[in-house]
């Protein structure tokens, strides 16, 4: 925050820091809308949850743990911040059953106040990005689409259905992602995902992207059944398995004599041709 320029006196720095700190505290109080006393309780609750659920892989100070076999059991959390903690915990990706398991979206292990407490505690372990609050109302859908196509679709696909990365990795589908999870993921860059800082995609742009991702859950499908919205592969499948099968069935029906019993014979017909 404060540049250590030579001309700046120490007292000034202190003063600026004090003002900023006060502002931060007030802001966070306003955002969390909780009395100050609850902060201490939350801290204690978060610590308690952390020490039961996370400590075995991530260490007491969130420094990460290397097992006796030399393999890393869990990474450091000191740079994941509120955004990383919120993303992993609210999507149920953490905690894992074992350190070999791949994190996947599943049912949350922590809900409500517990979730908030644990996220806040992990955030307090180091310096990491905040999990932004998203304001979808009034967010620019078209702008979000542009940003999504520029930054997200390469991995998550234009339809948000996810996609394959190399060596068994995959970008998950975004169709079940909640707004704040999306925002937190962009700030934290979990797993293989790059980080999108607030300097790159600022608050309003972030809201726009999130709104577009939310839109992709149920976009307009004026053409009918969406068949995945990922283009030619499912389309080719439908063309062959429905279109071509139907056409061949029709041809087979037309081309074989019989199904319909002949009702009227043509009078001057010499007789049935085929023996």
């Amino acid at each position: 925050m404060s540049d250590r320029r030579p001309g700046l006196r120490r007292r000034d720095v202190l003063a600026v820091g004090l003002v900023l700190a006060t502002a931060l505290v007030i802001t966070s109080l306003v955002i969390s809308r909780r009395p100050a006393a609850a902060g201490a309780d939350q801290q204690a609750r978060g610590r308690e949850l952390y020490l039961t659920g996370c400590v075995s892989c991530h260490g007491v100070k969130g420094e990460g743990v290397v097992g006796p076999d030399g393999r890393r059991r869990g990474p450091s959390l000191q740079t994941s911040g509120e955004a990383g903690a919120y993303y992993y915990l609210s999507t149920g990706r953490m905690p894992l059953g074992s350190s070999d398991e791949q994190p996947r979206r599943k049912k949350r292990a922590y809900e409500g106040a517990d979730l908030d407490a644990l996220v806040a505690y992990v955030a307090s372990l180091g310096t990491g990005p905040k999990a932004p609050i998203v304001h979808l109302a009034g967010a620019d859908l078209a702008k979000g689409g542009e940003l999504y196509r520029a930054n997200c679709q390469a991995c998550h696909s234009a339809s948000g259905s996810g996609g394959a990365l190399s060596y068994g990795r995959a970008a998950p589908s975004l169709h079940s992602a909640q707004p704040r999870e999306i925002a937190a993921a962009m700030r934290a860059g979990p797993g293989q995902m790059p980080v999108f800082s607030s300097r790159e995609i600022g608050g309003r742009d972030l809201d726009a992207v999130v709104r577009y991702v939310q839109y992709l859950r149920t976009p307009r499908d004026p053409g009918g059944l969406p068949i995945g919205r990922i283009g030619p592969i499912p389309e080719g499948f439908v063309a062959w398995s429905i279109g071509m099968v139907a056409l061949l069935a029709i041809v087979a029906w037309i081309g074989t004599r019989m199904p319909i019993r002949r009702e009227v014979e043509v009078p001057d017909q010499p007789g049935e041709g085929s023996p």
Binding site: A142, R149, Q153, Y167, G223, I250
Partner: protein, 484 residues
Amino acid sequence: MSRTTRARRAKREPVGRWIDDRLGVAKLARTALNKVFPDHWSFMIGELGLYSFVILVLTGAYLTFFFRASTTEVTYAGSYDALRGVRMTEAYRSALDISFDVRAGLLMRQIHHWAALLFLASIVVHLGRVFFTGAFRRPREINWMVGVTLLILAIFNGFAGYSLLDDQLSGTGLRIAYSIALSIPVAGTWITSLLFGGEFPGPDIINRLYVIHILIIPAIITVLLTVHLAIVVRHKHTQFPGPGRREDNVVGERMWPTYAAKATGLFFLTAAVVCFLGGVFQINPIWIYGPFDAAQVSSASQPDWYMGWLDGALRIMPGWEIRAFGFEIPNPFFPGVLLAGLTFGLLFAWPFLEARVTGDHGEHHIDDRPRQRPVRTALGVATIAFYVILFLGAGADVLSTTFGLSVNSVLWTFRFAVFVAPVVAGSVTYRLCRELCRRDGLPMASKVSWGEIPSRLLGRHRPPDASPHPAEPDEPMPTHDELV
């Protein structure tokens, strides 16, 4: 019945008489009406292609009234709110307008696209029918080649068509096509510069593709379709073996009235299937893909199915290329140009290659049953297996997402499968054919030893004795095998 018929005839006569007085076509018309169509459903598959083409022309003509093949930059202000205010080309905007703001426009667009997929599918199935029944043999080699040309034109026009819209997916496809053309040794840079009007994306390509897509290729297809059908009329249809069916006759149903009615019915039913797909299944949702931007791409980018084998070949090709003396033959040349050239070259040459190998240069109007030609059938199935694996390769990323596999493992699997699957499919087919023949007590084609094939292909083969080789269905021979 006779009274009403006479009444109708009296009514009809003046018009017919009027025409015949001026053109003298009564005899010709009667010949046409009496043309005999063999009685087997598989002979109507080609008609599916013809009718799909008619639907393509009709819907395509409608779409031209609204589409603008221009790369002028505009700002979208139509009724799709998720793109409002976005900069895009006029081509893409007009495609969006067709989809959202032209009443029945989206239906026409979707029917057009589904009809294109089914046009190609019909052509391929029809080609398979002709191949597996040996209906390409003398005197039909010319028509086989006309048909293969139509297939190539249809593939190219399909690609040109979906590349016009200038959405992200089509632009990516166009860029790949550009790079494949660029990889052609010596001439590649010139070809692409002349075709695109410069470096990719080039100022003119959309406009040029439009002319090619709506005028040049459809005109050639129309001419060749006419030739294709005229030759069929000239040759008369082939027919399957059966009682009373000989090389010198055609047994079946006359054109008029029954066959004409059935064919008309088939046209309407084909149109019904395509319209059903067009109305119910969303195809190519370009509004999701967004406008083309050379710096953007979406995962799961694939071409339409009839180009899938080429895309799959590009994917499973290992990272090899040839560089020497400062010149290079880039990687995409091998799967993109060489494979395509070999595919269509072999297709064109097949009737002649087969005749050389079997030494059978005679006329054939009776079709083979596929099981009686085990080697041809096995080769055909092996070829299909080869292209199916390539096609699956194009969906490697979609497959690995769907089944939770590593895309690298999937591609490695295909790198092997593309060689193994044809061998397995071919030998299973071969055995199956022999088994079926033995069960039915059918004679099989005569034998040619593998060792003779090269000399036969080069035309230096001298048969040891003039008598045809007898069929030997049961003999297990390690060094000899049946060919065609």
